[in-house]
Amino acid sequence: MSVQEVITENNSDRGLRWYSRREPVILLVLSTMAVASFLAVSGLSKAYKRQQQELGQEWFTRAVADQEGGDLRRAVTEFEAAQLYARGNFVYQLKLAQTLAALGRADEAYSYLLNLREQQPDNGTVNLELARILAKKGDIDSAIRYYHDAIYAVWDTDPEKQRRTVRLELVTFLLQQNAKTQAESELIALQASLPPDVALRTRVGNLFLKTQDFERALAEFRTALNLDRRNAAALAGAGRAAFELGRYNVAQRYLESALAANASDADSANLLKTARLVLQLDPSRRHISAAKRSKIVLSAFNTAGERLQTCNLPTMSGAQGLSTTTQEPSLAVRWKAMKPKLTELELRRNPDLAENAMDLVFDIEQQTSAQCGSPQGADLALLLISRLHESNER
């Protein structure tokens, strides 16, 4: 470094050095100016924020009104305007996301919701909305995850009810996906915390019916009936549950009560008709005479024969009347072979014949049911009786 350089540098900093002797004063002045400016901008900021808040609230109110009025497109624009003035407002963003989702703009709603979830991971509504969007998208695993997050999330109002509602929605979703076991486990978890509410109990009972857990379904309907004996939906549900469990007497009783409470319940009427037929056509039921039993067997045999003819099973046309799959005599051959032997007298004399005849009837009903679809009327009743017998034998 030359002498000249040193001198130049010293000269150039002389002004600053002059001030550096007065730094306390300068710093005091600068600090005072900074504080004064800060206060002035704070005043301005308050006015700005007040205006922004008012505008945000104004647009939000309009948006909610339009949303409730069904004008979702306009509501979205207004929610966006509200957002513009209250950037980061959780409620506005959530409403916007919900409206977008309702409009089918799932991707936009999804991105808003993800952002909201980052802010409040435990928010029940956000998790539920995310679950719904992913459920619609078909991302089942993620949807279930978000449903569970929603169930265990924080809810501001009536958390128990909200969690129940979400779990019921999850069960419905699982049933749509045919995940009956998962749905059943969710229902069992839900069952423990159900309040004494007839409609809710009946709904849960119906969901148990869909998961094919008929015992729990019947229990739920019975609980509902304890609260309201004449509740038509609960009676119908109990009737169906008992019917599915093969308890046709119980089913008949519930279904009769259901029809008494609601005569227009066609499903219950059909079920009742079938239940009565089952009870009538079952030759093994107690407290009937031998003659009556023989008549029932003969009637069942003839019904099965007609079903056999109507169904026209492919094996019936096999060479020499043998079944193409088992090389055993076909059902038709067996039926024709047995037909001449079956008289009321012979049936009364030979109980084994009655049993063989009913076995053939059950075979016919089961095979025709597999080949030609679900039967109706007496055939359906015979099929149900066959299943009942099978389960009793087991």
């Binding site: 010293n10 600053l16 001030y19 600068l30 100016m33 400016s37 301005l44 305007a81």
Partner: protein, 592 residues
């Protein structure tokens, strides 16, 4: 005492005299401690914090002014009526033209270039009127829907405030030159809510060199302005960034394609400004009253035709693009229309910046390219939001030619480091293509069009640094040893071609002696004494091969011969250098 140590002691004396005139520092210890704390460097750092605070406050007010302009001119709804969309920018354009022509003539043009001009030409001077003009005209322009951004004016407002503060404090010329970039960084940091990007941009595009002194001040001002801004406007970044999944290696090809498209778009954007700006400036002066208004009409029509997104800075729409809220066709149209609208606004002389429009175009283009690629290769391509983010960086690299800033800006805005590789890949392509199609960066072209001669930061960055190894010569003459008798040294010197010889002074020093001196001393009968005892200059400076030639010149003019030694072994001679060698090298380079 060597010449250097003499100079150093002289400098210290001067310094001491000026700081403590007529006093003994040892006698006033508390006062001395107080003095040493408030040394110039530290005082400048403290001043940088105040610059940041004032700039941050100014930027907050500027943001409020833009929002109020928008609300009162375009209404509080997201999309105004078609007539309002056309009338607001048109009428605002007329007012802006009158203000720019008659009241604030300096508010026209790029704030980056004006800050550079303050640094390199005007010794840090930026008139207060420029800041006021930028504030009023830019807020009016952006608020009324002109396709411009608030970052460039914020940068200039920060620089102007710093300049005013520097002038009031009568800072030295060197400090005054630095103070404008310090304010510029503060203004930009507050506008972007991104201090790292602001610091990098100012270093990369305004100052053009890194040094600890500058960096400290720039960082302090940027950070303090961001803190102030966040106190009023919140800590949220400009965009809500969705979760970004890890990018697969094969997807980098898709990002390279985005870089190519971005580079082409940046070139078209630059080309439009470069061609049209001088033509409009060359029109009769009376037309300048109507140019911003005509640009306003054009932009208003675009808005009324169903694309109001191109009006103003458009941050909320960039946010929507990041969140896949447009189809790729709409995104492509928006990118194209934004280029047209921004060119119209900027070349008409309407004050405002091009940072936000560049980000807008990049976001739309990125999301559009991502959307197309997603349709073609649905299993390969990730979220379009990632492409929108990368697209912003691409335009920044291609259009503004700030490669470092473009990378860090995306990282800072996204807060996600998994995008770093895609950003680097895409930006590199965009930068290379843009340089190929538009060799001169946009800021340099604008400077030339304004008749100024400012250093090109791109050229500075890429200038070849000449080093000692480029000019040094191999050692041809014998090297004397300081412990040898003078007689023997003189015999060795007789074999040398040059007049001066190097003397190795163990354990790790070097000196130089002339043949004439040796002969004289031998003649005086000192032949049996060691050379060490007779050396007039016991130690001279030495250089390493990687030193800059500039550093070599400072040494070479003081000594006839300077040793160039290895960094690993100071006694190992790599070569020698003289003042003539340095000058010959500079001459050779200038003739190339």
């Amino acid at each position: 005492m060597t010449e250097l140590s003499e100079l150093q002691s002289m400098g210290t004396a001067l310094e001491g005299e000026s700081i403590h005139p007529g006093t003994n520092p040892q006698k006033h210890l508390p006062h001395t401690l107080f003095r040493s704390f408030f040394q110039e460097e530290r005082f400048f750092l403290i001043l940088s914090v105040f610059i940041g605070i004032f700039s941050g406050l100014a930027v907050v007010c500027f943001r409020y002014a833009i929002d109020w302009s928008r609300i009162y001119l375009l209404g509080s709804e997201t999309t105004a009526s078609p007539w309002r969309l056309i009338l607001a920018p048109t009428l605002a354009g007329l007012v802006i033209a009158v203000l720019v022509i008659h009241v604030f003539p300096q508010s026209r043009g790029s704030g980056v270039n004006q800050t550079k001009a303050a640094l390199y030409i005007y010794n840090g001077y930026i008139p207060f009127r420029t800041a006021v003009g930028k504030f009023i005209t830019s807020s009016l322009a952006i608020g009324s829907g002109h396709s411009l951004g608030p970052e460039d004016p914020s940068l200039q407002i920060g620089a102007a405030l710093a300049s005013i503060l520097g002038r009031r404090l009568h800072l030295s010329r060197d400090r005054m030159r630095l103070i404008a970039p310090v304010g510029a960084a503060a203004g930009l940091a507050a506008a972007f809510n991104a201090p790292i990007s602001a610091v990098l941009f100012v270093i990369e595009e305004v100052i053009g060199r890194w040094s600890a002194g500058i960096l400290g001040s720039v960082v302090l001002s940027a950070v303090s302005s961001v803190v102030v801004m966040r106190a009023f406007l919140g800590a949220e970044s400009l965009f809500r960034v969705p979760p970004i999944s890890r990018v697969r290696p094969a997807e980098l090809l898709a990002f390279a394609a985005l870089g190519i498209v971005g580079g082409l778009a940046a070139s078209v954007f630059s080309w439009g400004i470069v061609r049209l700006r001088p033509r409009l400036k060359a029109l009769p002066k009376w037309t300048q009253y109507f140019q911003p208004a005509l640009a306003g009409v054009a932009i208003g029509i675009i808005g009324a035709l169903g694309f109001p997104q191109v009006m103003g800075a458009g941050y909320e729409f960039m946010d929507q693009a990041i969140h896949n809220q447009f189809t790729w066709e709409v995104l492509g149209i928006l990118a194209g229309l934004k280029i047209i609208a921004t060119i119209a606004s900027f070349v008409s002389g309407t004050p405002g910046g091009m940072f936000a429009p560049a980000l807008f175009i990049g976001a739309m283009l990125g999301a559009a390219v991502g959307g197309v690629e997603h349709q073609l290769l649905p299993h390969l391509i990730g979220s379009e939001g990632t492409y929108a983010l990368v697209g912003m960086g691409v335009l920044f690299a291609g259009f503004l030619r700030a490669p470092m800033t473009s990378v860090f800006m995306v990282l800072e805005l996204s807060g996600n480091y998994s995008v770093i590789v895609p950003v680097i890949v895409a930006n590199t392509f965009a930068y290379v293509i843009s340089r190929w199609l538009q060799p001169t960066p946009i800021f340099d072209v604008l400077t030339q069009q304004d008749g100024l001669d400012l250093p090109s930061m791109e050229e500075l960055r890429e200038a070849d640094v000449l080093r000692v190894e480029d000019a040094m010569q191999p050692v041809k003459d014998p090297v004397l040893d300081a412990d040898d008798p003078l007689e023997r040294a003189a015999q060795q010197a007789d074999k040398a071609q040059s007049d001066h010889l190097l003397v190795r002074v163990r354990p790790a020093g070097w000196s130089v002696i002339s043949k004439q001196e040796l002969r004289t001393m031998v003649g005086e009968g000192k032949g049996e004494l060691t050379l060490r005892s007779l050396l007039r200059v016991p130690q001279i400076s030495y250089l390493h091969p990687d030193y800059s030639l500039d550093a070599a010149l400072r040494q070479a003019y003081r000594w006839p011969l300077v040793p160039v030694v290895s960094r690993a072994d100071y006694q190992k001679l790599e070569g020698v250098i003289t003042q003539q060698d340095v000058l010959d090298r500079y001459r050779a380079v200038s003739e190339m």
